[in-house]
Symmetry: none
Subunit: 217 residues, 4 copies
DNA sequence: GATGAATGAGCTTTCATTCAT
DNA sequence: AATGAATGAAAGCTCATTCAT
């Protein structure tokens, strides 16, 4: 589409090294997909950014879609954020949120996928990964509605990623990390440690009572 | 692309009425854009759904992009959710979240835009709308970091919309509305009513205290 | 590929008539496919020859392959040659051979297909048509080995078409029609009217005897 | 394209022998070209079949087209069929037709070329070879229209090869050799030995007479 | 002698868009 | 007001071919 992108190095003629080339393609693809979405990114753009010929995308990845899968599968490590003490989850989120690899500029992998959900293969991959993450997170939560709460925790993370990277809400990125963490913790902790009353009081009964009529028609 | 969409009415030969035609186009476009995203939706799909000739899109809207802008601008009413008592914001969010207009099927307008942010004009529009919403919300918030907190509140809403509509996390849509509201309130209230001491005192203890109140209203 | 072809008319801007356009495309495609084969012919070539935009091929025919099918199916009329008295078959062959439409330059439709048998769909179509023709011709033949003889009659026609149009053996096209007919009749009649002896003498027995050992292992 | 071909031997690591390598390439190319045609055959297919690197095709043959030329030029021996008594030509045709070299699987070299006549160089080669064959055959024929009759004899052979190998008319291959020969002789002899009166007398009667002799040898 | 890396040109196809009626 | 015809540009992808090792 356009060519206003960080061509890696224009002088050196790219060493004939398969590993370096495919890595460069992955980096360029990650940045383009994150910035413009799957459909709006052309293989020619990616190749130009990586400083190589578009045909190499097919040599190394087989297709544009497989390249996308490789991008979102690379370094996908929900455990990185999920593992560890749960009450430090907000801290890890902030850290992860601010210490992102340069290629995927501040983009949560899920946010990256959100905007690329047009194609079948992409949607399926995304759904699977989202569900895995929700399940993994829910497994770490005690109390009722673990899955619902896990989904909301993820929603908070994904929403912040989307807003900052896609919508360009710079107040999120520009905020001092500790302020970000404080408020994120304030919002996230009630979802992680549901207050005692919620589990001790006969809320389970209440919930069922209340929900029965409208929830499952 | 495909044609499995609500063709308006096959019997009547569409009255030669500009207003009705452009309205039909807007409806069809909203549904398609929400379901498939901007790039994956073709003007021929939209026109076919509306039962009119694709050229009319250009007659009435000028371009596909302008049609998209018209769609996301129509009925955009952040005030609907923002207006009202702040401590009922979670309730309004849940209500709005569950009572969505039929055309934009269960899709938060922002989530709709998230996945369509490839093209320049679309991105710009979305950014503007997001910033307006953040600003409007921040204006209703007291205490420090109002804009940051507003962005996080929006992030929570957007994240939930994205997860449920794009990623298909059905636990969000299937949850009983009051459970959804309880947990959403638990997460959101600390961002709305930041406890006075939040900036000075060690917040871990405060936070729990603060969260208790909205969780059990 | 190249553009050394009979652009239809360069002055008039092609009347906006669907029928004329698709006919022009069919003509151009027939000529190109006949001259260069299916694979070596590009849709750009065809469109350029027809003086229209390549996209119209897809508007009117759906794909390159479907265009090809349309070409070989158009005016395919084996009956034209087969119908009529069998002893005038050579005359009809010559007539048909010499009175071809200008677009398909001297090309037997089967010869046209012969060189385009790469793609699956093309091969299948061709096989079907060849078998139909053989069967139709065999039905008109009396005596033994009707199908084999029919195949050989077809082979003679196809071979002449291939040699003259593909291999450029101009002695076939340049020959006076009556000389062509005389020799063609000389070769073809023994296949059409197998001499009495062949059917009356105990050749059937002979044949079987001879053939038994090697023919069906 | 696919890889369902006779990979030479997978155990031995191909000796670094130029002659063996180029021979392997020629064999693989002949099989592929015959089976799939020139355009549908890729140099990668050929190289994979031969078990070598595609670049070697360029080392040994210079280009895909030159490789094709080498294939069709190898063992081209029209004399094999043409040499010998003319009245045994049908027998030799049948023999040659049924005893084909294993590499060019059942494919008449001319039929092979017929379907590969797209590219310039290929067409030229084919035309030259066809003309040489016609000329050589015509030189063996007495009487009028020698070249025309030679072309028709060749057309019969080529047509049968094309029909059987390309169009899959199995009645030709499945026929008992002597039936094939009988009918082929019946059609071919009138072209070889043109009856003296053929040009002057009404030929219908003569023709039958002429044909009788070869049909029942 | 042989190979993996890299390239440029071309292909079929789709799409937003405009023109003429 | 509305439509079918036509177009230019670009997309994903494949292939023959060359380069460097």
């Amino acid at each position: 589409m356009d060519a206003d992108s960080p061509r890696p190095r224009a002088g050196e003629p790219r060493p004939r090294c398969a590993e370096a080339t495919s890595a460069a393609l992955l980096d360029a693809a990650a940045a383009r997909f994150a910035r413009d979405g799957y459909e709006a990114t052309s293989v020619r753009d990616i190749a130009a950014d990586a400083g190589v010929n578009p045909a190499l995308i097919y040599r190394y990845f087989g297709s544009k879609e497989k390249l996308f899968v490789s991008v979102v599968s690379r370094d996908r490590d929900p455990a990185t954020v999920i593992d560890g003490p749960m009450d430090e989850l907000p801290d890890r989120s902030v850290t992860w949120f601010h210490n992102r690899p340069p290629a995927i500029a501040g983009e949560h992998p899920l946010a990256l996928m959100l905007r690329s959900a047009g194609r079948e293969g992409v949607s399926d991959l995304m759904r699977a990964q989202v569900r895995d993450t929700v399940a993994a997170l829910a497994a770490r939560l005690d109390g009722p509605d673990a899955e619902l709460r896990a989904a909301m925790i993820l929603a908070l993370n994904v929403g912040m990623g989307a807003l900052s990277s896609i919508a360009g809400v710079d107040v999120l990125m520009a905020a001092p990390p500790d302020r970000l963490r404080d408020h994120l913790a304030a919002a996230m902790m009630p979802l992680i440690d549901v207050p005692d009353a919620a589990t001790t009081t006969p809320q389970g009964a209440e919930k069922t009572t209340t929900a029965e009529s409208p929830a499952n028609p």
